[in-house]
């Protein structure tokens, strides 16, 4: 197996710079919230002293004058998805291994592109230069990744077939194991991959378990992990912009209805159903917003989808005015549609039971719902045969 590793170390920063050219040439710190803490998601190389994962106060204290940007994960993923689509135009197997990290299978493509060098150049040209991507080529994921870390822009590095000496002088920080395992390796004096490869696998496995065996294999260039190409999911996307930022839920509901009308009129959705919808948009002077809605049952018509999306907007409205709104219908089913239940009464009973429970919660008492029950079906007095009793699910 021959793979190329595409590594974009600062994709969030570059994506923000593309959106706001005023950030170019300046140190940039991209911040996000993790629970109640504010941490650095990414920072530009010019932001001396700051590093990903650092508390934001500490990072801004060390790098005064850095531009602070609120993270927009949806936008970064969108930028990366577009890149992956461009790579998939060149190779049929592309794996998304994380934001800014992708593996591309090269086997059998050299002949199409006129050699390995041209193939690598073609892949690099598929990536916008502003993303500062680096490429490594190797016989497995780990060798290709290590080669990418050593590469420069427009100059891919290829790991040799005898990868042991290539890996030996490099640090154990490159291993895809936890920070704690790496720290313990250094504690045992194992600072390079060569140190790890020189040991027998038994002691490493005894000390570190599965991570020990993984570290040993990778340090020797043995990487059995297969390439897991991403599956391209068919989606239908519609979007619109507001002339003035939309605040009211009625406006958003109307806009959602318009987008649903457009989406369901598309030939791609004819006779098909969607299991999931994603509402998203750009907030006024703020980051993006997304709300994912999974339909209890696949919907194939505009009204049912609008009912569910409107409920989602009512319960989780956007945190601010929206400048644009997009709708993505995903997880499309085939032409078959819904399968009917053999036991219709079971579902009806479940729905009725749930409705009664919700009424009781809303009224604070048993709802006035009654049913006729047979009590003395043998009675000669007709009005004694049945009784009106309160319905209990």
């Amino acid at each position: 197996m021959k793979l190329a590793c595409i590594l974009i170390s600062h994709l969030p920063v570059e994506a923000e710079r593309q959106r706001d050219p005023r950030l170019r040439g300046r140190p940039v710190v991209v911040a996000h919230g993790v629970g109640s803490r504010r941490l650095v998601l990414d920072c530009s190389p010019e932001a001396d002293g700051a590093r990903p994962g650092m508390p934001l106060e500490e990072a801004m204290g060390r790098c005064k004058g850095a531009a602070l940007v609120e993270a927009d994960p949806a936008h970064y993923q969108e930028v990366f998805d577009r890149l992956l689509e461009r790579l998939e135009e060149r190779s049929p197997e592309v794996e998304e291994a994380g934001l800014g990290l992708a593996y591309v299978r090269l086997d059998g493509l050299e002949a199409l592109y006129g050699g390995e060098a041209r193939l690598a150049a073609t892949l690099l040209h598929a990536i916008p230069r502003r993303l500062d991507a680096r490429m490594g080529i190797g016989g497995g994921k780990f060798p290709a990744y290590v080669a990418a870390t050593l590469a420069e822009l427009d100059r891919p590095v290829k790991a040799p077939d005898d990868v042991g000496p290539f890996l030996a002088p490099l640090g154990v920080d490159l291993l895809p194991v936890s920070w704690a395992v790496r720290a313990r390796l250094r504690g045992f004096g194992l600072r390079t991959l060569g140190d790890v490869a020189a040991l027998a696998v038994g002691p490493l496995q005894a000390q570190f378990g599965r991570d020990g065996r993984t570290a040993w294999e990778l340090a020797r260039g043995i990487d059995p992990r297969p390439l897991a190409p991403r599956t391209r999911e068919e989606t239908v996307v519609e979007a619109l912009s507001f002339s003035t930022p939309a605040v009211s839920l009625e406006t958003l509901a109307t806009a959602t209805d318009v987008l649903l009308g457009r989406a369901f009129s598309r030939p791609a959705l004819r006779g098909r159903y969607a299991r999931e919808a994603l509402l998203g948009g750009q907030l006024f002077r703020a980051a993006g917003w997304q709300r994912r809605v999974s339909f209890a049952q696949p919907v194939g018509d505009r009204q049912r989808a609008l009912y569910a999306l409107r409920h989602a907007l009512d319960t989780h409205p956007p945190p601010g005015p929206l400048e644009e709104l997009s709708l993505t219908l995903a997880r499309l089913t085939g032409e078959a549609g819904l399968q009917g239940s053999l036991f219709n009464d079971v579902r009806r009973q479940d729905n009725l039971r749930e409705a009664v429970r919700q009424l009781e919660a809303r009224l604070g008492r048993r709802p006035p719902i009654y049913q006729v029950r047979e009590v003395e079906s043998w009675s000669r007095i007709p009005e004694r045969r049945q009784a009106l009793v309160q319905y209990v699910p």
Partner: protein, 71 residues
């Protein structure tokens, strides 16, 4: 409700409309709960009305009232 000399219903009033009884299809009597202080004694008639409807009526032999059996 009105009964003839034979005790059979002649006409009934349904929702303000008076309807003649065309024929008596069935007749039966029930006597229940005589061991209680309030016995039940009824003479039932299944009547075919002139507009084609069938109704079940009974003559309460204890109170003397005529009623329609809806159940």
């Amino acid at each position: 409700m009105a009964a003839g000399d034979d005790g059979f219903p002649q006409w009934v009033v349904l929702r303000g409309r008076r309807l003649e009884v065309a024929s008596i299809e069935d007749c039966w009597r029930i006597d229940e709960e005589w061991w209680r202080g309030r016995p039940i004694a009824r003479l039932y008639f299944e009547a075919l009305l002139t507009d084609g409807r069938r109704v079940t009526v009974y003559h309460d032999l204890v109170s003397g009232a005529w009623r329609r059996q809806s159940a």
